[in-house]
Symmetry: C2
């Protein structure tokens, strides 16, 4: 991708209304732009990151046999009257009337629709267990949207719903999703802390939040330091709670083994039994022809919020430092002297060679060296190949690691070999 | 993918409220399910086709340098007041009031938002030309939603917006998109007929519709038979109109060279000049520091509608016949005797071998041979590998081409070689 043709309107100005680093950096890197309070346009750099995140999520969902669907953004109020949540949900639900005076709403979550799909099609215990998921847009009419896409009104979420014959089967699925979420977040370069949670408005009686460690997080986490080194299998049983649930008097963890960190919630899983299947009359027939109401769970990942959370976890004073697997590009080539024939020729050579197997952003724009280096650090692509006339006249280019800031000098063939060999 | 774990609830019943083949077949194949009038759940088989279609569209958009973004589904009414369309749009616009009594709407199209993004970031003629596009959900509150996803209320659309310095540049972009759309539809196995169009409610003065030939189409097309054989370069200049614009008295095409066919509109492109840039005050400074209002165009593809259109174009009395590049799977393996050890072993062998490079649906369900063969023809995966105990005892399996219905007998190694060699 040539930067001159890429719509990434970077800016040096720190937006005054943006209070946290991710919000500032997403605005400055030209990733998002406010369309209305809590509603954002997603510009190309952000779209590329969203797609990386979605790909990881879908691959991991696939591995646990979840079936990908799209529920709808506009759903009939009737379904929520059946579940009993229509009146309870309050003003965060965006309620809509269509041209025929029908009552609708913009999905804040989709338990009712998942249950609706299930009851339409699954009639026998042989159809259990099953799991449906989607990655789709949702809307919650927050009274005070803030922190950019961290707490927006229109947001992208992965939400999954499971249906099981028994509590034991439901618990097994819950544990499978738990482990899958750990893998999902780790693949994004994150350190997820699963904390025992109350299930809040969605209801239920087994629930974990997945928190990402970040100094600017809204939650305070108290957890056993074993959590940072334990294998995925053990994580569910290690002590971790948010401040609301932490009581030093009853804490099972001695002080010298207790970690206290700030965190950002990026996922939440629930087991809630027959909370929806019973009132919505979603049942199958069991082996004996008797009605069986499935035990359900729901599993969410805040996809758009994840971008902000990743930036909160990985940035410095100069900009974003994307972990490898969610970076918008693998590597960027910076031509510091676009009017120098040799620089152009070498940049083209490197760009063409690397593009065969890597995603490359080639900064071919005519602007000052300082602006170009600044933009590269701001945007945060993991590797920068810096081509300037002085170094080039001595036969080399620079390779900079955005995170460690280490710069090494390499010949053109060496730098190509570094990436093509990978 | 094992069919036993895949959520594709097929049915033999012909739904009485579904009037056209694609609607019937999508319901029967378990691809969609109605959530409310004109609003559909998309089930896994349909999601796979949607994703194939989106991938082709994105690849072709990429080739012409369009930048992928997400505008928003909920947008502020203010923008539409600026453009002057808020009052004109009528009842098809889903108007929404948020908790703070702010006026919003569910995007029926995004010209205003594209213009808004442009004016925020592009300040100089050097930023021209540029093109933004998205694939996103839209809502039009049709008075009479019908034909399933063919004319739904909530639908998925690709919409692109271009900004140019001059009419000539705008025309050049228009022609580039025109050719790109032809390639896009051809990659989906379709024969697109570009017809000269009035630009309707969106306004403007250069416009083409892209129609897909299908007997059940809503439009009648009159076109020069050269259209079916001409190269992509020539298509724009060959006569083609819908019945509304056809007048036999003024037709430039002699009767023996005129084709008359039914068509389904799947794409629409517009040039509309400064219709939005001027009222919305979206300008850049030209070389002389003077205000320059860009010449705009918009370019749409009905993504969800395309699925229905493809089915209308490719089906028979038994079911769907997917063109290769948009098929939900490349090949399906049918185990006709799931209790026969040899059948299971051979099916597993074929499934594992083919899965290395193909997308395979392995029908491992316990059900009658007739149901299994019926489902395979209904779902319409291009190739069926049929494994039954009688054939297998003689050392072969059957390979069926869904479209031609040709069945050939092959050894297991031969059938694997057919797909792995490809």
């Amino acid at each position: 991708m040539l930067f001159s043709e890429f719509f990434a309107p970077t800016s040096k100005d720190i937006p005054s209304d943006a209070k946290i680093a991710s919000h500032q950096l997403m605005l400055r890197a030209g990733m998002i732009s406010q369309a209305a309070s809590g509603i954002y346009y997603w510009l190309p750099l952000a779209v590329r990151v969203l797609e990386k995140i979605m790909k990881i999520i879908c691959e991991e969902q696939d591995k646990i046999g979840a079936n990908k669907v799209y529920f709808t953004t506009i759903q009939p109020a009737e379904l929520w009257m059946e579940s009993g949540r229509y009146d309870d949900y309050g003003k965060e639900m965006l309620r809509i009337t269509d041209r025929k005076d029908g009552k609708f709403l913009y999905s804040p979550t989709n338990e009712e629709q998942a249950t609706d799909v299930f009851r339409k099609y699954v009639k026998s215990y042989k159809g259990l267990p099953t799991m449906l998921y989607q990655i789709h847009w949702k809307f919650r009419d927050e009274i005070r949207p803030r922190f950019g896409v961290m707490r927006g009104r229109e947001f992208l979420m992965k939400d999954g719903y499971s249906f099981a014959s028994t509590f034991e089967e439901a618990e097994e699925i819950y544990k499978k999703v738990f482990k899958s979420y750990i893998r999902t977040f780790k693949r994004m370069g994150l350190t997820p802390i699963p904390v025992q949670a109350d299930s809040g408005a969605i209801g239920g009686n087994m629930s974990h939040e997945f928190q990402i460690l970040a100094q600017t997080g809204e939650s305070t986490l108290y957890y056993d330091k074993k959590l940072l080194t334990a294998s995925d299998e053990e994580l569910m049983n290690i002590f971790a709670v948010t401040d609301e649930k932490y009581d030093p008097k009853t804490s099972p963890i001695p002080k010298n083994e207790l970690m206290v960190s700030k965190g950002i919630e990026v996922g939440h899983i629930f087991y809630f039994g027959k909370k929806y299947s019973e009132p919505m009359n979603a049942f199958v027939l069991d082996k004996n022809g008797q009605k069986l109401y499935p035990e359900m769970g729901s599993y969410g990942i805040g996809v758009s919020r994840l971008i902000a959370a990743i930036i909160e976890a990985f940035h410095d004073e100069r900009g974003i430092m994307w972990p490898e697997h969610v970076a918008p590009f693998d590597v960027t080539v910076l031509n510091l002297h676009t009017s120098n024939k040799d620089c152009v020729e070498i940049c083209n050579k490197i760009y063409r060679a690397l593009s065969e197997s890597k995603e490359v952003l080639y900064d071919d724009r005519e602007m000052s060296i300082g602006e170009k280096l600044g933009d590269a650090d701001l945007i945060g692509i993991p590797w920068q190949i810096i081509v300037g006339e002085k170094n080039l006249s001595q036969g080399f280019v620079e390779l900079k690691n955005r995170k460690t800031k280490e710069i090494i000098k390499l010949s053109v063939d060496e730098v190509i070999g570094r990436f093509i060999g990978k």
